[in-house]
């Protein structure tokens, strides 16, 4: 409900302005399309960062140690968690799709490849971010709080509520390191502004690069956290 409510609020916040068409980093689209597309990708992100709370539950129930004693690939363990988040996300997509029908929103698609690439990369990058968050949940005992803390500022630095070219310099600098800012732009442009693969190629390359970097960071962090918790004997401690 929180993301839906926030989406609605950030749609309403535009109403006092002459807002018919927005220029989103060079792609023009109506406010409603801008908001709905932003919420679709943002909900995916929210689901992924909340999925890490399963580890908090495991620790709470006293089963985290058992999981980490299992001789399985840690990366696969995290990937499984993120995939569960992805499945959870389809309920939200169902809700958002009904909103799209209810509001009679018409997508402007020129290249299906661009749509699939933007969607695929958005899902992939968010899955990786979700895995990184899971590592954080394993290492921190305050994962739930941090997941809540991250939800709202991310809206601000990833261009969910306003096009990033208007943001102050320090926000734009932060946005460079957030995959969500690229995936939101790619999704909006390919679905609601008829952008093609060649128009979005730079964004796709940057998003792909970031996804690979965060994957490497996830593997490294997971290994470090696993070793540290075993060495200190604090895996199960709350």
């Amino acid at each position: 409900m929180l993301p839906f409510g926030l989406g609605l609020t950030y749609y309403f916040i535009y109403l006092p302005f002459p807002h018919e068409i927005l220029n989103v980093q060079g792609f023009k689209m109506p406010l409603l399309d801008f908001t709905v597309a932003g919420q679709i990708i943002y909900l995916l992100f929210v689901n992924m960062i909340l999925i890490g709370s399963y580890f908090t539950e495991e620790r709470f129930q006293g089963t985290l140690e058992t999981i980490f004693l299992t001789p399985c690939n840690r990366f696969a363990l995290l990937l499984g968690g993120s995939l569960a988040g992805l499945i959870n996300y389809f309920w939200f997509i169902l809700g958002l799709t009904s909103v799209v029908f209810f509001l009679d929103i018409e997508p402007k698609i020129c290249s299906l490849s661009a749509v699939f690439l933007s969607l695929g990369l958005a899902v992939l990058s968010t899955i990786v971010m979700g895995m990184l968050f899971q590592v954080f949940f394993v290492s921190s005992r305050r994962g739930n709080m941090w997941a809540t803390v991250f939800q709202e500022p991310v809206i601000f630095i990833s261009g969910i509520v306003f096009p990033l070219q208007y943001a102050p310099r320090f926000i734009r600098m932060l946005a460079y390191g957030v995959p969500l800012s690229y995936s939101v732009l790619a999704f909006r442009a390919s679905v609601f502004a008829a952008a093609t693969v060649s128009q979005l190629s730079t964004i796709f390359i940057l998003l792909g690069g970031l996804t690979i970097s965060y994957s490497i960071a996830t593997v490294y962090c997971m290994r470090s956290v696993d070793i540290k918790l075993r060495r200190d004997g604090t895996l199960q401690l709350f």
Binding site: G5, L6, I13, L15, P16, P18, V149, F162, Y166
Partner: protein, 273 residues
Amino acid sequence: MYSIRVIVATAKYNFIGFWRVFSLSSFALRFFMPLLSIGTAWILYYRVFNGQISSEFGQFAYTDYLTFVILGNAVFVYIYASIFTTGRALFFSRLFGVLDCLFMTPMPRFAYMLGATAMGMLNASFDFLVLIGIGSAFGMNLSSINFVVFFLGLLMTLIALFGLGLVVNGVTLTLRDRVNTSNFLQTVLYAFSGVVVPVEMMPSWARIVSMGSPLTYGLRIIRGSLYKGAGISDFQGELKVLVVMTIILVVVGIYFLGAIERNLKKHAKLAVF
């Protein structure tokens, strides 16, 4: 007199509980939503639309755009006090295992709830002042404020929100619900009470929803107090609606609380989680 002792004692108990285990992160979390909203409004106003605002806005807003948004967000902090503090007062008593002791104490329940609210409202007033201070840095204009209208509007809003908190308290206690009801209500009230846009500029379906929120009317009076020459007589309609809403909410809240208590005692489920 006895009720006043209950109110003071409960407020004191809550005050000590809050500051003894003061959580900086929870404190900071309370400012997230309003600060992000104010930041977004600032970026939209100055950078996206270069200070251009629809002429319709002036007809309904009483103030300039940034003052409108900042004041809306500053008053909204009282929703937190109403829904999250008053609205979960007895839920936490059950969680901490003291609900049966509380219900066995021969004290007026209403006074206990007032005491719990007092602490929440005190915290919210601190947040309110912080946001007004931050708002001044963002260019908030309070130069033509009518203090009588402002404080009357604020007081009436707080009383109505207390009533809302009473009702929410009944819901969270019955459903054993820690966050869902409160989060849901907070989100709905934030979106539909005219915090970031005059209600009159919202789509018609949203205007209908907004009529059910006491904050819609409270914000209209509070913002109206900034309009040069505005007096109490200009907001009689809003005041009447707030009074009616307050009576309904408080009566329903008290009835709800009584019914829950009787039911819990009858079925011996007071401390059962």
